[in-house]
Amino acid sequence: MAMLDVKDLSVDFLVEGRKLPAVSNASFSVEKGEILALVGESGCGKSVSCMALARLVPEPPGVYSGGSITFHHEDKTYDVLSLDKKNLREFRRHRISYIFQEPSASLNPVFRVGEQIAESIYLRGDVEDEATARKEIISVLKQVGIAEPEQKMLCYPHELSGGMQQRIMIAMALASKPDLLVADEPTTALDVTIQAQILELLREIRGKSGMSIILVTHNLGIVADMADNVVVMYAGHVVECATAKTIMQEPLHPYTRALISAVPRLQHQTEKLSTIPGNVPSPANYPGGCRFFGRCQLADTLTADKQALCISTIPEIQEKRKGHSCRCHYSK
């Protein structure tokens, strides 16, 4: 039984009386201690899926229009989409933590970072006195690799660099001892050498504490480097799921293939990068059939009557090989 099970999740946004689909029929699961990567381009619904895991998409304009999110902890089961206020609070407090792209926007500029970490320790509910909390702040700061934690906990966010701020965010997330850490583009705003430090840190934390991590990113290099399993999203659909190695070496879905070959690589002399023609469709004009149709190189090779199926019907996500599923009518 997987720790987190998302089944047929759909999230829509009500905008000016219209229902715009952000995520449609997404299914994926996370095991204990697993790093799952959610990949896709901007607007594909990867962040909304993550926010939905703790029901953080604001309602309205968001609407959870279908599916289920089930979280297992020891012998307790949380059905996230139907939890009442009290249980939802408990779930958010103990089971799941988030870190976001822009650490400077997620930290409160008028409180010292130590106080902000203390907040997540107190919220856990098992620490009352200041001395214990202080000890714990220092230990969690050491865990995320901050030198001189006694001084650094007294700093305000603006006194720290971007990499240090992201470490503080991770420390806050760790302080609540969650089972699942959702990292939404945690290194996108950072330089490559700092990015390498932060990714190393996340890997280390997973190794030590057995925490599961959902890593949202658009960088396929990071996926290949970090993830056990990968979920590829396109225009609100999960289009492919498999282990990271399979996705990188034998991708099935034409979108995944195109995406991988569009990445420039070091010391690969190629005259021209392969591109995906056109743009991602906007949720207001999703096509009735396959949402990748029109940009799809596989569809271009098909005869018109075969293409008719792509245009008319949204493909189901099917397990094409063991542990490798793909949402395409024709890929094998």
Binding site: M164, T193, I194, A196, D225, L266, K272
Partner: protein
């Protein structure tokens, strides 16, 4: 003769001291010299705050230099001002990172391009309109789209408009400051291909500033690596990435997450952050983070010198022979 010649260029910012401490200088660009040929692409890489954008902006006189000389097409532009500078500007243009921020939201694409042409060319209105259609076609947009506003375009299309605007006056040099960093992977590839194609057609030279080494390597013939306001390594792309001669470049390369497990390198994780350019470290600016650092590096500042005599591959490291063995 090179198209662009930069000699000992310096850009310092004065940071006001208090009553009791004297004013300090932030050395954003510190004694940089290089050349760029017509039709060539030179990549400039480095982490945020290393001075790469300031260098680009100083070259095309969007920032005031504190010393050194810049000449473009054999003409010294260092001391130009007013009308003369405005005239010279048709020889060098810029593409910005954020296509959302660099286009006026209240001007259609047509009026944005028309403004550039009416300032820099003597064309009459019908000739300008014809030129605008040509430009849009060159960057892969259609003539019907020219009366739209920036918000009606996607990010990639907006960047195409930015490129068309830079190309409008037929410059010999374009400084492209992180032109693809804000774009998605599939769109990024479209724009990179477009820039390469445009260069073949117009023989424009690019100074391509970016932090993504793979992108820079793909588009550039030569690469310069910058750290704390100084060039630490420069040379042909394959040389810099394949026969690296500076520990900082080596660390940057090893930090790039790669897709193929076959080429995955062992990672050199640099400790700490980039020091503040207000108080650069003594000696070699990289020594506090460098795995090869020793006594000499703390005391003496290395010069950017050829790796071998007469070689075009330059490195500012005393121990560049040892870099090959790293990692």
């Amino acid at each position: 003769m090179p198209l662009l010649k930069v000699e000992n260029l310096k850009t310092y910012y004065r940071v006001r001291g208090s009553w009791f401490s004297p004013a300090k200088y932030l050395r954003a660009v510190d004694d940089v010299s290089f050349e760029l040929e017509a039709g060539e692409t030179l990549g400039l890489v480095g982490e945020s705050g290393c001075g790469k954008s300031t260098l680009g902006r100083t070259i095309i006189k969007l920032e005031k230099q504190s010393g050194g000389r810049v000449s473009i097409g054999g003409k010294d532009i260092t001391d130009l001002t007013g009308t003369e500078l405005r005239k010279a500007r048709s020889g060098f243009q810029m593409i910005f990172q954020d296509p959302y921020g660099s286009l006026n939201p209240r001007m259609t694409v047509f009026s944005a391009l028309d403004e550039v042409l009416s300032i820099h060319s003597k064309l009459a209105a019908p000739a300008r309109a014809k030129r605008i259609v040509e430009l849009l076609e060159m960057v892969g947009l259609s003539a019907e789209q020219m009366h739209r506003y920036p918000h009606q375009f996607s990010g990639g299309q907006r960047q195409r408009v930015g490129i068309a605007r830079a190309l409008a006056v037929g410059p010999g040099l374009i400084v492209a400051d992180e032109p693809v960093s804000a774009l998605d992977v599939s769109v990024q590839a479209q724009i990179i291909n477009l820039l390469i194609e445009i260069q073949k057609k117009t023989n424009v030279a690019f100074l391509f500033i970016a932090h993504d080494l793979a992108v820079v390597e793909h588009i550039s013939r030569r690469i310069m690596v910058m750290y704390l306001g100084k060039i630490v390594e420069s040379g042909l792309s394959q040389e810099v990435t394949g026969n690296t001669r500076h520990p900082y470049t080596k660390a940057l390369l090893s930090a790039v997450p790669v897709i193929d497990p076959v080429t995955r390198r062992s990672r050199i994780i640099l400790p700490g952050d980039v020091p503040s350019p207000m108080n650069p470290p003594s000696g070699c600016p990289f020594h506090p983070r460098c795995p090869l650092a020793r006594e000499k590096c703390r005391n003496e500042a290395p010069q950017l010198l050829p790796v071998k005599d007469g070689d075009a591959h330059l490195s500012a490291c005393f121990f560049h022979d040892e870099v090959i063995k790293m990692g």
